[in-house]
Structure formats: structure tokens, C-alpha cells
Amino acid sequence: MKARISLLLGSLSAALIAFALASPRVVAADKVDPVADAKAFQNFFFQKFPTVKHEDFVNGPYSVNEDMKRQWKEKEEFPPYEFALDAGKEMFSTPFKNGKTYADCFPNGGIGIRQDYPYFDTREGKVVTLELALNRCREANGEAPYSYVKDEMASLTAYMAFTSRGKPMNIKIPDDPRALEAFENGKRYFYSRRGQMNFSCASCHVQSPGERIRAETLAPALGILNAMPIYRSEWAGMGTTSRRFVTCNSQTRAVPLEPQADEYRDVEYFLSYVANGLPISGPGARP
């Protein structure tokens, strides 16, 4: 209910975008210009954190906090996502009941392709995320879909991210007005305030990256999906992009959407596109 109210605050979120991107062009944009948006978005973070190497932004809160970075480097010696990685690799190579495998559903047998997701499907007219594509693959082969938020889905995406580590994010916006609309929609969702607390995603991940909210250091929005899925001690396990979106909404008393709802798919499209060029680093480990 409140989410709708916050959408009405159009001028307010426009002001926030202006603040966030420090680019008057973005506010004036009656024409959607993703290339300019991505450039302004990246420059905002590069200027805010001049000492952070550009490719380091893919390491979530660690990129902007030296103490945490040290702890993280130690952690990476025995990464807590290893069990998920092993499980994912095993699942990926085990045939379905009909004898086919995940490899049959994806370009290049599913190896080294994480950087191409999500993509805009011009036949369907919608954004297709990796999680969605995995469940569609299962269903097309007569298997039940997995929960989007953890366990098997996190293991599979962990393995697919791992085989793509270091590859630059490579999201395309095809020449289709619906693709531009999806991008714009995702951007609007990201900057709109919602819920009783009146936060937007940008309040935390654009306005306050590196700051602590209670004991948690906020990750910068630039490259924020490159490390997905992540292990979190707080979850005592792995979580997918879907899990993180739902958690961020509900922890701030906003009504979360269903995993893989159109708007979440659009937000993922927006956030991934503006991270183009930054390397895949998933799976990640978080405190």
C-alpha cells in the first residue's frame, strides 16, 4: 500500500536520482539513455571512492571497508560457499530423468556464461534471469522447479558464477522499446521510496555505501550483483539474488515481491547493466 504512495513521490525520487547520479541529464531524461545512465552511475561511485580499484566494487561491503577486506581475504582461504559449489557442480552434471542435462538448456553448455544474465528475451518481451532460466530448464525437462531463494538454486548459480569468474558483466539492451522500458522500470523501482521506513534501494546502496547500519556495512550498488549468490553467516547458508531482494525489502518493513516478480527481474536488469565491464566474482562470502 505504502509502496504505491512512494511511487507518487515522483519529484522526490527524481531529486534523489539527481543527487545520486549528479547528472542533470538523467533527470531531464524523457528519453531513456542506458549508456549515459551506466556511465553516470559508475562515475558516481568512482568519485565517491577514489581509492577503490574499479574491479574491486564487485566485492560488496568489502570493497569499501579495509578492515573487512582483510577478514574477507582470510576467509577466502576456506570459503564457506565451497560445499554449495561442490553440490552445484555435481547437480549440473547429473542428468534429469529424461537423460538431458542443464548443459542442454544453455549456450556453451552453461559454462562461463553468468555475465550474460539477465537478458531481455525479445520473444517473451521480458527480462529472463539466470535463476528463472534454470527453473524453466527443469520444467521443460519434466522436473519440479526449485525454490528461488536458497539451497539447490544457490548451488547451481554458485557453480555457474564460478565458471565465469573474471568475465566482465555483459548485459545487452536489444533494439526493442520493451527492453528500454524494462530498464527504465527497474531503475524507477530502485530509486522509489517505499514502506513505512520510506527507504529506496538507493537510500542504502547509493546514498550510504560504506556506512554502517547497526553492525552491517552497506555494499555499494555498483557491481552489487556480480558476487551473487552469496554465503551469509546470518543466513547460516547460501542465498540467491532473489533472497537478497526479498530480505532487503522485508527488513526495512516494505512489502517484498514474489521472487522473480517482473519488477525484481527489471531491477536485476538495471543493476546488472550499469555494472557492465566489471568482473563476475561470485559466489561471494559475507559476514
Binding site: L12, M197, N198, S203, E211, R212, I213, R214
Partner: protein, 124 residues
């Protein structure tokens, strides 16, 4: 919810005294003022209510965040308590981009709860 808070906050007091304090208004009697301060602190620290520590360092509170300024020397910096009430009610009026939630406007806190927190802030 509000009623729960009132009950827990005053459970150590005898019922007649509570009634008296309520009748007299919080600020009017010294006992009332003191309990409003205690109640205000409780509301400010409560994760389900003010949860001010999420963003502000406040004397006596654990695990503060760093998003807002430390809340100190309040009386010197905000001599007019109405200004504090306004900040708590809806800080987006002063600063449209603020991260601080509009506690009053969005009914996270009642007017009375905001008043108690302001009493507490003035002791910082």
C-alpha cells in the same frame, strides 16, 4: 503496541501513581518527566520502535550505525523542542533526500512517543 509499551514501562509503579502521572501530564510532575525520559530512551533504543541506534551514536546504546550524526549536546543545539519534534515527525521536510524515516508522518511513532523521545534527547 502502544499499550504494551506503557504497561512494561510503568509496571514497576503502583497503579494510582500511574493514573496521577497520566492525569498530570508527563512533563508537569517531576516523576512524570523522569518516567517520560526513561520511556523515551526505551523507545529510541527499541528495534521495533525508534531504532535510532541503527543510524546514530547515542550515549548508553550498543552497536550504533554511522549513517546519521551522533546525537549529543542536543539542548544547546536545539533549544526549541518543537524543532526536534519536527525532525522526528518528518525530516524529509527539512531535507527531502534524508535517510531518516518520517516517524510521525508514517505512524511508526505516535505524537506521545515522539514527545517522550524528545524529552530523552534533551538529556543528551
Amino acid at each position: 503496541m502502544l499499550r504494551d509499551h506503557a504497561l512494561t514501562a510503568f509496571s514497576h509503579k503502583s497503579a494510582p501513581l500511574l493514573a496521577l502521572a497520566l492525569l498530570a501530564g508527563f512533563a508537569a510532575s517531576p516523576a512524570g518527566a523522569q518516567s517520560a525520559v526513561a520511556e523515551g530512551q526505551k523507545l529510541a533504543f527499541d528495534r521495533g520502535k525508534g531504532n535510532c541506534l541503527t543510524c546514530h551514536v547515542i550515549k548508553g546504546g550498543d552497536l550504533p550505525g554511522t549513517i546519521g550524526p551522533e546525537l549529543k549536546d542536543i539542548k544547546a543545539r536545539f533549544p526549541d523542542r518543537n524543532e526536534l519534534v519536527a525532525i522526528l515527525f518528518d525530516e524529509t521536510r527539512r531535507n527531502p533526500q534524508t535517510m531518516m524515516p518520517p516517524f510521525g508522518r508514517n505512524r511508526i511513532l505516535t505524537d506521545k512517543e515522539i514527545s517522550a523521545i524528545v524529552d530523552f534527547l534533551q538529556t543528551l
